[in-house]
């Protein structure tokens, strides 16, 4: 069903898109031009791999990936940043975009992530449970409430009855993992994909260790891909969103620790 929706998204308004598009489908039906994809910061490493894979299938398309906090990207889109696809870490960030810019077709959830309590390798502060985030003597980091990882972490902690005492509210997930990986924080709530249960398998070279979510169900982030109504390269955008739902890409998401629908 989802690929169908993406296919519809691609066909809807193709005629007018082709007129003003910087990219076109040439005679043999191959895609061309550049494709600008805005992704939540937590999605950057996996999206770069997916983009490379897409470019191998469509050599005439150049995929440009920009990553930042979902709320930062939302504002960029609202301000008219030229982009084809927007994939925030929380579908709520698509609401204003849908109203002010317009979305072609329906957004499709392409991956999910969960939040975990994480510590730097070594865990010098002996952090073990989420309740440790309320210990004032520790250096605690969260994402800012404006970005999904911060909003989800706060609501999850509130549900568990924990009042965290952060020393910093980082503007996005990557800024937070950077400080955690450097050992400049004792504990933080990060995405599961940025930490690993053991010290070998994390994208940060084992610098961040996951302790899981120790109180009930972990908060979930959903990454929904939306093709913007004014996407300069609508044909490639629709194809890319469909590509995100193929088994091959699901495998890539899984390799990076994401769940797929």
């Amino acid at each position: 069903m989802a690929p169908l929706a993406a296919a519809c998204a691609a066909s809807e308004g193709d005629a007018e898109a082709a007129d003003r598009s910087r990219a076109t489908v040439n005679g043999s039906g191959t895609l061309e031009g550049s494709l600008h994809v805005l992704v939540a910061a937590s999605l950057l490493p996996v999206t770069e791999v997916i983009a490379a894979s897409f470019e191998r299938q469509h050599p005439a398309v150049e995929v440009q990936v920009s990553a930042a906090g979902s709320s930062t990207l939302r504002e960029q889109v609202l301000a008219g940043a030229p982009a084809d696809i927007f994939i925030p870490a929380d579908p709520s960030h698509l609401q204003a975009v849908r109203q002010e810019i317009g979305i072609s077709g329906e957004p499709v959830v392409v991956a999910r992530n969960s939040l975990v309590l994480a510590v730097p390798a070594g865990n010098d502060a002996r952090v073990s449970v989420l309740a440790d985030l309320a210990r004032p003597e520790l250096l605690i980091g969260l994402c800012a409430p404006e970005v999904p990882c911060g909003a989800l972490a706060r609501s999850g902690l509130a549900q568990a009855g924990i009042e965290p005492v952060p020393d910093t509210d980082e503007p996005n997930a990557r800024a937070l993992t950077t400080k955690l990986a450097a050992g400049e924080l004792d504990a933080a709530v990060v995405y599961a994909t940025d930490a690993a249960p053991d010290t070998s398998a994390s994208p940060h070279g084992g610098a961040i260790v996951s302790l899981g979510w120790t109180a009930g169900t972990a908060p979930q982030a959903s990454y929904a891909a939306a093709v913007l109504a004014d996407a300069p390269n609508r044909p490639a955008a629709g194809t890319f969103v469909a590509f995100l739902q193929t088994d091959a890409v699901r495998g890539i998401f899984a390799d990076y620790g994401f769940a797929t629908p």
């Binding site: 906090g69 709320s71 930062t72 939302r74 504002e75 250096l139 980091g141 800012a144 409430p145 404006e146 970005v147 952060p166 020393d167 910093t168 509210d169 980082e170 503007p171 800024a175 950077t178 400080k179 450097a182 050992g183 400049e184």
Partner: protein, 279 residues
């Protein structure tokens, strides 16, 4: 444009009547106008989006006041640090000839061209809890610079000091050294010459340097957020508050931005009238 000389003569604000030679060739005038538009447009955007009716409500909200207090305190402290470190450095660079002087000058002015985020990260790796210097320092004294106002001040001083160094070094090089020599031959010690002759003579340049450094510190974002983090009431300065508010409370963000613009613009106009030759 073309009636400028007559208007000028009518106002009589300069002794000599301007001649056609003072008029810019048209490409110069055109590019200059484009330049003005380039700098004026963002201000127009800001003013157009300003929530004029609720301006005071936004500016008196808790997070804005907290950020303003922190910004004022940390930027003044950073300007003081910049003067304290920058003036001696400028003196050494201007007066002492030693091997590697150009390298040292490049090193201490590097933060001017370095992306601030890179500077912040470098500070973190040097002075953070696990940093090369910060690690032993923390183990020995328990002192922790990131996540505190000290981290904010250090990050601000890091980017602001080069402005003091460059301005003061330039002033020292242009100084007429006969006054210093005269003071020295009259028996003044070198420190006394510096304090009573050199510093008063470069006073105006020093003033400009410190104020510009202060303004730079007030607007600092990248190094601060990377080194000191961002927490309301502790390390969230006005620029960080703008960044956060842009995504949650745009009216407040625009209100803060207006204040920062007004402050900086007023400062630059005041500087121009006081210290920069207006000819």
């Amino acid at each position: 444009m073309t009636d400028a000389p007559t208007a000028n003569a009518r106002n009589g604000n300069s002794g000599a009547r301007r001649t056609a030679r003072d008029l810019p060739p048209w490409p110069v005038a055109l590019l200059a106008c484009i330049g003005v538009v380039l700098f004026a447009l963002p201000l127009v955007g800001l003013v157009a989006r300003a929530p004029w009716t609720g301006l005071w409500t936004h500016l008196s909200s808790r997070f804005v006041v907290d950020a303003a207090v922190l910004s004022v305190v940390s930027s003044i402290a950073a300007a003081a640090v910049a003067a304290l470190v920058g003036v001696p450095l400028a003196w050494v660079l201007a007066r002492v000839s030693f091997p590697g002087r150009s390298a040292i000058r490049a090193l201490v002015t590097l933060p001017m061209v370095l992306p601030p985020v890179v500077g912040g990260a470098a500070l973190l790796f040097a002075l953070g809890r696990r940093g090369v210097v910060g690690g032993p320092l923390h183990d020995a004294t328990g002192l922790l610079l990131p996540y505190s106002i000290w981290g904010v001040i250090l990050a601000n001083a890091f980017v602001a000091t080069p402005l003091v160094i460059l301005t003061v070094e330039g002033a020292l090089r242009n100084l007429d050294r006969r006054y210093e020599l005269a003071a020295a031959t009259l028996g003044a010690s070198r420190l006394r010459v510096l304090w009573r002759v050199t510093l008063p003579m470069i006073g105006p340049a020093l003033g400009v340097a410190v104020v510009v450094a202060w303004a730079r510190a007030l607007g600092e974002f990248g190094a601060t957020v990377t080194f000191a983090g961002s927490l309301g009431g502790r390390t969230q300065t006005l620029p960080l508050a703008v960044f956060v508010a842009l995504e949650s409370n745009r009216d407040a963000a625009v209100a803060i931005s207006l204040v920062l613009v007004a402050l900086s613009l007023g400062l630059l106009i005041a500087l121009r009238d006081r210290w920069w030759p207006s000819r």
